[in-house]
Symmetry: C2
Subunit: 155 residues, 2 copies
């Protein structure tokens, strides 16, 4: 199997759930909106799962305005976070459950698991893009509780 | 001032920031998407701010699937939550900082303050609509911390 074919298939497995959800949303998106979605999904996969900050930062524009209160601003803050994951939680994995697009914004609903087999956290990320590159990030993070008042799950 | 005029002005104040943001997103939305946004904003204002569950539930369809782990399923769970706010946090207020729309989905980025003068929580809500009515809800909630590693704020 050629490497490009392999990557195309691997990307398909990774992107299929998010795209499936998108197709269910009933929306018609512009080509730029879909490109923005793919950019954010690739950024997340490279940075948070593969823990390759350099590869992820290719999707970032001339600034990275950070609103996560635990992270320092800019691309250096992102590098530090990826290095932290690589050192402390090398098996951590973020599964993207839903993705949404709205103009310059991409929103991800994610189950982030730092130690395999644990419930992890629910995260909703908002990314702003400019000229097809990520320039700003907000998120909200909540641990998935052991028990819940309903049986629907957080995702 | 006639009551309808007052409500129109009040709604304008309430909706303007969210609409302003939407206009900045660079997206073109369908009339149904904009209607969905207005439905969710009205639901939030009636339920969470005015604490009038009956008025809010007029925007809900034939079911209300709840994914917030602290809330019981369905419209009864929502009624209980509104009653809880009314009794325990009558001055609580949710300020919608950003809103996004994607087909059947509306996403809100909210600063929810239970006691005036406190930092409150950052919340991102995802609502799914069907035939213009809300039928499902997910959210992620995180207290706004006293200090942060960057000076950009959570919103």
């Amino acid at each position: 199997m050629k490497r490009t074919t392999f990557f195309a298939i691997a990307a398909g497995f990774f992107l299929a759930p998010a795209l499936g959800w998108a197709q269910q949303s009933g929306a018609t998106h512009t080509a730029q909106e879909e490109a923005n979605r793919q950019t954010v999904l690739a950024f997340y996969e490279k940075g948070l799962n593969q823990k390759d900050a350099d590869a992820a930062l290719k999707y970032v524009g001339n600034r990275y305005v950070q609103h996560n209160p635990g992270a320092t601003d800019g691309t250096e803050g992102f590098r530090k976070f990826v290095a932290f994951l690589r050192e402390k939680f090398p098996k951590s994995h973020s599964e993207i459950r839903h993705s949404f697009v709205d103009g310059d914004y991409v929103i991800l609903h994610v189950n982030s698991v730092r130690e395999p087999g644990t419930r992890g956290s629910a995260i909703i990320d908002i990314f702003k893009l400019e000229n097809g590159k990520i320039i700003e990030h907000w998120d909200v993070v909540q641990p998935v509780p052991e028990t819940a008042a309903n049986s629907n799950g957080m995702f």
